[in-house]
């Protein structure tokens, strides 16, 4: 969008081929990610929201260069990371880091916290042991594990889920990266711990001016943490807007259903509200329907939706939607009614 984009993804697709066999001659592919474009500016947090199987994690892997796309490019600081040599890519890796969802399996269970945090510093920089110890202590304090000496010689299983996720953040920021992919960083945590981790994350994001791709299926996490949001459905982005716009005037029927499914923490409203029931499942990514991918679950389906696949187009400023009917005035009125 702007020329200061740090990460820019253009028409990115990833198809996973299904093997042929004696009885299945026809070659089929799973279209996990299908023509996705977006950019993340410096210091910007983009939320990528969608159900399981919508292609969120595949995008995370593509953006970090952990798997090659079928087509399309991922530009980091203006260069396509898939054109780089292995050596150049290794040099780039320290600028892009991952915070994984399952902190229990993200670390080597046989290594101490000290070892886990020292590893990236040893691989990418040539610090002395004293310098490394000093840096690790500072890192632990930054993520709220105080006093650090208490944690250095512990093993991952000796920490609680929240403490482990703090270590995950510490490891990701240890090399002062510019870009972090956070793949469901708080989904496995208790409500009380979730806010603690989000606060740590937010503080570090601001002080380091980090660009973040924040992947989640939980919209309630997005509101206070992210700047922009892209909603994915079956391998495509269906709506892309600033957080304010998306929450105040969601345009795509899928986004609206997602919002309606987010629990309301008030029994007086929650037990009375009429739900926009989202029935059925995500379509098979092998045999995708012609036309809009959301048609089977869409309450506003029209003829055009069955034949023409909607493109991501301007709905309002800073607000893109891939839907044939969302911008019709009759539908807009209905939405306004629904929200009040």
């Amino acid at each position: 969008m702007t020329n200061q984009a740090l990460v820019e993804i253009k028409e990115l697709s990833k198809y996973f081929p299904l093997g042929t066999s004696l009885f299945r001659k026809e070659k089929k592919v799973v279209r996990a990610v299908d023509g996705v474009s977006f950019s993340i500016g410096r210091g910007e947090v983009l939320a990528l929201v969608g159900e399981s199987g919508s292609g969120k994690t595949t995008i995370a892997r593509l953006v970090l260069g952990l798997t090659r796309p079928t087509s399309g490019t991922v530009e980091f600081r203006g260069r396509n990371i898939f054109d780089l040599s292995d050596k150049e890519l290794l040099g780039l890796r320290k600028h892009m880091q991952l915070v994984a969802q399952d902190s229990a399996s993200a670390f080597n269970p046989r290594k101490t916290i000290r070892h886990i945090l020292a590893q990236p510093l040893k691989i990418h920089e040539h610090y002395s042991n004293d310098q490394i110890n000093d840096m690790i202590s500072k890192l632990l304090v930054r993520v709220g594990l105080n006093p650090p000496e208490q944690f250095l010689s512990r093993f991952p299983h000796e920490l609680s889920g929240g403490q482990r996720q703090r270590i995950g953040i510490a490891r990701a920021i240890s090399l002062n990266p510019e870009f972090i992919v956070a793949d469901e960083p708080v989904s496995a945590l208790d409500v009380s711990v979730r806010s603690q981790i989000l606060n740590v994350f937010k503080l570090i994001q601001r002080t380091n001016e980090l660009s973040v791709l924040f992947i989640t299926h939980d919209l309630s996490v997005v509101r206070s943490v992210c700047h922009k949001i892209a909603v994915m459905y079956a391998g495509k982005i269906v709506e892309h807007a600033t957080v304010e716009k998306l929450f105040n005037s969601p345009a795509h029927p899928y986004t609206q259903a997602l919002l309606a499914a987010t629990p309301i923490p008030d029994p007086a409203i929650a037990q009375k509200k009429k739900k926009m029931a989202l029935t059925g499942d995500v379509p098979s990514l092998i045999d995708l329907p012609k036309g809009c991918r959301y048609q089977a679950r869409c309450p506003w389906k029209e003829e055009i939706c069955e034949t023409v696949e909607p493109e991501l187009t301007q709905y309002e400023s800073d607000h893109l939607v891939a839907c044939h009917v969302a911008s019709r005035s009759s539908v807009k009125e209905m939405q306004a009614l629904h929200r009040s």
Partner: protein
């Protein structure tokens, strides 16, 4: 004092002063430390708390399924007037699945990957009812239909790997309700699911409860689920009950500082917050629980009294109690 907590007549499950311990090399963990709860017939009751507060241990104690080195060391679990602790293992088999059923968090790990879905559902029915094959088959298909599976004949022939996460959870619920239990315990049954699927499962549980009149005991850390699904709530912390109340008063007017803190942690899609409210610190080590009120190390209101003496139940409303020195009685 005891008299205030006498359960009502139509109580179907009554847990009285339950204590469940785990003996570990580090010492005895009092995972559940003298809690009393009751569930009325047709009622939906929640136990809410953080991980490590003893919610799941309470559920497993009710089912008499505490794995060693855990042991129920005190209290009674009275189901329809009979104490389950006095039941033999054989008698408990007649209760589990038929009278009290349970649904767990991770549906896939509870389904046998080598058995067709239909056969897994039929197991419980055959065990408890000894019907002929045709009747059992019909019940299986009916149950699958009841849990919202559109093509039950087809799905009954599937192996579990073919099911999506939401469908697997529906199948697990089908197994649980196949014998028409009077009480269904849902232990974090929606936690690992997508928001959309979670909302479908919550709706399903509510419908099943309303249609069959069974009682629900919902164990969760998510107050959003409680708001949508439950009538009454017990808030648990460090193996003890902190507060109990009907769901509306609990959300409107929480009395215990722990409940207040938990409620503040619930994130809303309606407003932006610069700094999210959080509850600092972590759950106590139950080999050496804090003296006095268990919550005092994290409590903003803690006084000397809280650090020394355990708070008694304070009546805060009609059948509502808070275990807190600061709560005001009504």
């Amino acid at each position: 004092m005891i008299d205030m907590i006498t359960p009502p007549r139509d109580s179907i499950l009554e847990v009285r002063d339950l204590v469940t311990n785990f003996s570990t090399p580090e010492g005895v963990v009092r995972a559940v430390d003298g809690i009393s709860i009751n569930v009325r017939s047709g009622e939906s009751v929640a136990i809410v708390g953080e991980s490590g507060s003893g919610k799941s241990t309470t559920a497993l104690s009710i089912m008499q399924l505490i794995p060693p080195p855990g042991r129920i060391v005190g209290g009674n679990i009275i189901y329809k007037g009979k104490d389950l602790a006095e039941f033999s293992e054989r008698e408990m088999e007649g209760i589990r699945g038929k009278e009290i059923s349970m649904v767990f968090q991770d549906p896939r790990s509870f389904l046998n990957p080598l058995m067709r879905v239909g056969d897994q559902i039929s197991e419980a029915i055959e065990l408890h009812f000894h019907n002929n094959r045709e009747t059992v088959k019909k019940t299986v298909i009916e149950t699958l239909k009841k849990v919202g599976i559109h093509d039950p004949e087809q799905v009954a022939r599937y192996y579990p790997h073919k099911l999506s996460g939401g469908m697997a959870q529906r199948v697990l619920i089908a197994i649980a309700v196949s014998c028409r239990p009077s009480l269904l315990i849902a232990d974090e049954a929606t936690t690992a699911l997508d928001t959309t699927v979670q909302s479908q499962i919550v709706d399903l549980l509510r419908t099943l409860k309303d249609e069959s009149g069974m009682s629900l005991l919902v164990i969760t850390h998510d107050l959003g689920i409680v708001a949508e699904l439950c009538d009454r709530v017990y808030v648990m912390y460090g193996g003890k009950i902190m507060e109990t109340s009907d769901v509306r008063s609990l959300f409107r007017n929480p009395q215990h500082p722990y409940t207040k803190a938990l409620l503040k942690c619930v994130l809303s899609t309606y407003e932006y917050k610069d700094k999210l409210e959080s509850l600092e610190g972590s759950v106590p080590d139950l080999t050496r629980p804090p003296i006095g009120c268990r919550f005092h190390p994290r409590c903003p209101l803690a006084t000397q009294e809280c650090r020394e003496r355990e708070p008694p139940p304070v009546r805060t409303g009609e059948s509502a109690y808070a275990y807190c020195w600061k709560a005001t009685s009504t």
